[in-house]
Structures are given as C-alpha cells and as structure tokens.
C-alpha cells in the first residue's frame, strides 16, 4: 500500500530522508507518499504520521492529505492526483507560506457559557489571520473551535493575541495550539 502524506509543488526541493517518502509528480504538483505496512490506529501512529508531514513542511509548502489515504500503487496515486490537479494547485496556492493555528474556547468550570463572547474573540482573531474557519466542536464543552491560517513564523505573535484576549475575558478559557500543517484549509 502507498500512503499519501501531502501534495506539494513539482518540481520542488529535494525530499528529506524520512520513511522512504517519494514524490509522484503530475503536472505542477506532486503527491508525497511512501510504501507502508498496515499500522494500527493509535496516538503513536498518528504522531508518527504527523512527524513525516511536518518534516516535509519544513522546506516546502504543502497540502496535508487526510490520514488513512492509501492506494494500491503509485499508478493509482498518479491518477488520483492528476484528476484533481487544478483544484489541488489552487488549494496549495491558498496556503503558501502559511501554517495553521487552532483555537478552542470553553467556559470556566463554574461559569455560564458566553457563546457570544467566544464569537467576538473569533472575529477579532480572524481579522489578524490570512483566513479563518469555524470547526465542529472537539468536545461537548467547546463553545467554539476554530482554525486560523497565519504566516509561517507568525504563530508566536498569534499566541500573544490569544493571551491578550484571555486576559480581557475572564469568563472564557482559551486554548491555542499550533503551528500545524494547514489541515483545515486544504479543501476548498
């Protein structure tokens, strides 16, 4: 089985030597993939997969591919990528030089659930990002969950913005994680 990790430009910089990752080129993009054995789903497997994607992202822009995308052989990978070439390239253009930052907002243990305040925080943070999207809640306590597309290297500054909002909102609890590859901005 061939596992696909990400879509990147073709041609591109030399690939890092990680997991036997190879590029399957199609036009102006390439699928970055590797032959893999069956791997049981576990936190370790997920983190290992993520480590590969992030190693690739160190010196190229990419669209991370959904986990578990496995195809029988490189010919199938080529066909899948070629079929979607223009859409993939357009999506890749949308995330150039950017990474994703995540936000979750919950109410404190004994407090009310000010959803409106959470929405306002999101609006303001969105104004500081290249793009923003609201995601499904991760856990039932989430008042809001969102992702922001920020410039690479901009996550520290974004974290400060979140800290500022936290200080301004004692009635909320803000959790910010990142930087991540742009999973939430990969599909258009």
């Amino acid at each position: 089985m061939i596992e696909v990790y990400a879509i990147a430009d073709h041609p591109g910089p030399p690939l890092p030597d990680v997991n036997g990752v190879r590029a399957v080129p199609a036009g102006r993009i390439a699928a970055l993939c590797a032959a893999v054995e069956e791997t049981a789903l576990s936190p370790a497997a997920l983190w290992a997969h993520e480590a590969v994607v992030e190693a690739l992202m160190e010196d190229r822009d990419l669209l991370p591919v959904r986990y578990g995308t496995r195809l029988a052989d490189e010919a199938q990978v080529l066909r899948a990528v070629a079929e979607r070439h223009d859409a993939l390239l357009a999506a890749l253009d949308g995330v150039r030089g950017a990474a994703e930052v995540s936000l979750r907002v919950v109410a404190p243990a004994d407090g009310p659930a000010p959803a409106e305040a959470a929405a306002r925080v999101h609006e303001q943070l969105a104004g500081q990002a290249r793009a923003a999207t609201v995601l499904d809640a991760a856990e039932s306590r989430d008042l809001l969950r969102a992702a922001y597309l920020v410039d690479r290297g901009g996550s520290a500054g974004f974290a400060e913005a979140v800290a500022t909002h936290q200080r301004a909102h004692p009635d909320l609890r803000l959790l910010c994680t990142g930087p991540w590859p742009p999973y939430s901005f990969a599909e258009r």
Partner: protein
C-alpha cells in the same frame, strides 16, 4: 490529571480531529486499521465530507473506516 498528561491529551485531541477530519481528500476510501488482534476493515460506504464542501465536489469523498 498531571499537566504533562493533560498537555499531551489536548495536543492529541487537536491532532486527531485534524488528521481524521481535515486534510485534502484525494481517494475514495479512507482506510484505518484498528485492533492488532484482528484487522477489522469495515469500509464506511458513506459520504462524509468537509461541511462546507459537500456540494462543491463532483466526486464525493467517501470515508471508509476500519473500526
């Protein structure tokens, strides 16, 4: 819960939702192998797509899952 453990857990929560719910879908089936004891492959013949993009696609991504 210790801080270190909580740290790991919240990071994992964000990771799982991204890997399983985000990323670009290029193949019809998503295959997840779970259970070392028995490889259970149940292909979820359902169309689960990113909320905003269901209508955009000509080919609806299908999320197969081995649970």
């Amino acid at each position: 819960m210790s801080t270190a453990v909580a740290d790991q857990e919240v990071a994992l929560i964000d990771l799982v939702d991204r890997l399983l719910g985000g990323g670009v879908v290029i193949a019809g089936d998503i295959t997840l192998a779970v259970a070392d004891v028995d490889l259970v492959y149940v292909q979820l013949r359902a169309l689960i797509s990113s909320v905003a993009t269901a209508e955009d696609k000509h080919l609806m991504p299908r999320m197969g899952s081995a649970l």
